[in-house]
Symmetry: C2
Subunit: 400 residues, 2 copies
């Protein structure tokens, strides 16, 4: 009665695996600031709930497998603001960005095929490749270059006859790095020369700071048939629990394959599609306000981090994460210690150890990912607790 080896081989989520320790801390009466997970505290726009209430549904029917036309038109409208046009059949609505990625990987790759992913990367990419039987090969990036892409030669040297695509997030989770147009043009050159697809995970697009913008892969001309964009309402519209994402591509054959996968699971939640339709129609001011709030929080985190000796980090340009190299041997041990032994005035902080964001885990051994998803006062307090805890932890490491 053996279980599937492919699932047994899957690692537990580094963002979620330490949650039982946080629950234990709470039972001991310790308040835990959660900077480990990308769950924003910003209010979901009210139009989402209003649209559902006003619909006055009698029979909660299956939606269309490809998504409801109203939502598809609303997503089209979002992309058109940047001059990116998708036909109706070039957008398929999914259960969050997660399902969009699983569908794209399954529709492009057979078992044993390889994909390239700049590391550190969103840890669940690992789960998606393992469950679809695909092998992830890392393109290593470094904190010293702000996690930007390495050279053309470096990337090309990692391509084998089995490589089918390059997957990346832009802005990046867990790095906050925003790729430049020049980086996307380099990926275009590689995709054309090596006959690859590109999958751009753009769920954090528009959450970009200091007046900069993150170019969408949809803006790169001449590779429309190789480009796949992953979208979601979760972060930009603070609607993680809606589980509404989508996959976009102008490759009609690919979309036909993805439609088969969508038809097999019948449809995505009808009422969440009604709500999400309104989110994509929100005016730009709404997203700008969200972005400004995250920029303010980023600046608080940076300001606090600068007061802690021995850290290494770069200024993130987007999303709401920062990777920080700590003056510790093993960041996961430090995070566990924070949850199980440390408290400052009955409070502690949960961070995400970064090693599981890497294929080459040793590269992230001393790193954590901080998600700045709490409002300013709490965030500042949490960062101060991190500062105090590191002083304490240094003494313990020295004596061990």
């Amino acid at each position: 009665m053996n279980l599937s080896k492919r699932v047994i081989a899957m690692q537990a989520s580094p963002i979620r695996k330490l949650i039982p320790m946080a629950q234990q801390a709470k039972k001991r009466g310790i308040h835990v600031y959660h900077l480990n997970i990308g769950q924003p505290d910003i209010e979901t726009p009210k139009v989402f709930f209003d649209a559902i209430t006003h619909e006055n549904i009698k029979v909660l029917k299956y939606a269309l497998s490809q998504g409801e036309p109203e939502l598809i038109h609303s997503i089209q409208n979002y992309f058109m603001k940047d001059g990116i046009h998708f036909d109706d059949d070039e957008i398929i609505v999914t259960n969050g960005g997660s399902e969009a990625l699983i569908f794209a990987l399954t529709a492009i790759c057979d078992v044993g095929d390889e994909i390239l992913v700049p590391e550190p990367f969103y840890t669940n990419y690992n789960s998606f490749v393992q469950q679809t039987g695909v092998i992830a090969r890392p393109i290593t990036t470094s904190p010293s270059t702000g996690f930007h892409l390495p050279s053309y030669e470096d990337i090309v040297s990692r391509i084998t006859p089995k490589t089918k695509l390059i997957l990346f997030s832009n802005p990046g989770n867990p790095t906050g790095t925003v790729y430049t147009m020049a980086e996307l043009e380099m990926l275009k050159r590689i995709a054309l020369e090596k006959d690859l697809f590109l999958i751009s995970d753009e769920v954090y697009r528009k959450l970009v700071f200091d007046g900069e913008v993150a170019p969408s892969l949809g803006m790169i001309k001449g590779i429309e048939d190789r480009s796949v964009i992953i979208e979601s309402v979760s972060k930009r519209y603070s609607s993680c629990g809606a589980r509404i994402g989508s996959v976009q591509s102008k490759n009609k054959d690919l979309m036909k394959s993805i439609l088969k996968l969508a038809q097999a699971r019948l449809s995505v939640s009808t009422i969440n599609q009604i709500g999400a339709t309104q989110l994509y129609l929100l005016d730009d001011d709404n997203v700008a306000a969200t972005r400004d709030e995250y920029q303010k929080r980023r600046d608080i985190v940076l300001s606090e981090l600068r007061q802690i000796p021995g850290l290494k980090f770069e200024t993130p340009k987007g999303a709401f994460y920062i990777i920080v190299t700590l003056p510790v041997k093993d960041a996961e041990e430090y995070v566990k210690w924070m949850l199980s032994e440390y408290n400052y005035e009955n409070e502690t902080v949960m961070l995400a150890p970064a090693e599981d964001f890497y294929v080459n885990k040793s590269l992230g051994k001393s790193q954590v990912r901080i998600a700045y998803v709490l409002e300013s006062v709490q965030l500042k307090r949490a960062m101060q607790i991190v500062k105090y805890s590191l002083i304490e932890y240094a003494k313990i490491e020295k004596n061990s």
Copy 2:
């Protein structure tokens, strides 16, 4: 730039592939009665929507990956009514019964493993095995025995060293067949002797007629570690668009593997879980009313079918489907003709050709599945149109 062969090999849904022809018919002004798809017209219980409205959510957060505790307790309550106990960690909430099945198959089977499925079976089982790299081997059942299971010897003869499990739906889609306790006991014997898992798709449970009951696999003692139950609110509570299902098993290792798959896709829609919690708490009268309505419709369908010469069918005992052998050479050609050429007073009917419910497609060549999901007056009218159309079609087949 090749796409995945596994997805290209997937067949289009037999329930949905002819929908463009139905849309064309509607454009010509023809009214189409849809008896092709299991989309009930019965109203969704109001408690579903009320619960969501009353929750007054500010931030639509991720739910827990395994499902919200309130919904899990509500599902526990549903099973406890039949004396079936599941611990909190023996239930995982999924995006409909579809995801529950994909998770169970992925967590049990590696690529190349085989499963046994009584045919005809729910056509999307084919899609799920293809996308997970598993091979479906049919256990052939026959209309002449009401699609009940063949002998122990017949089933055992189909088992190979690669066979990992037997998957079945009870009550059955597309047959409406309800397995007896003796049939489940036979499957238990085979599972124990041949070291297999059993997956029982029970999304139609409680929709059983003539005072009979469909036994749950959870009632069979001594194979708790081999038994997996698939659940969904879609049919029993007429809430297809909620996409709330669940997978149940007392095999803790299996549930740990499934939890990893659940964590990778983060969570299931938060508000649909709030609504679904109330559905599972509805009293038995509510489900009984739904069941009685379907029994009434089944009897209308049977009464109308008996007036049509040349048909073969058995009385279905559950769900809301019936398989009928028509006096035609090719049922799919007949269904297409109904949509593209035939009309009776500007009306026609869409049925599901049954051959794609089989691995051995020729067995279903002359069969259709009728879903009795319309209220009595419309259903009677639709069945009369089927009768008239068959008289017409017989003339055409004779002359061709």
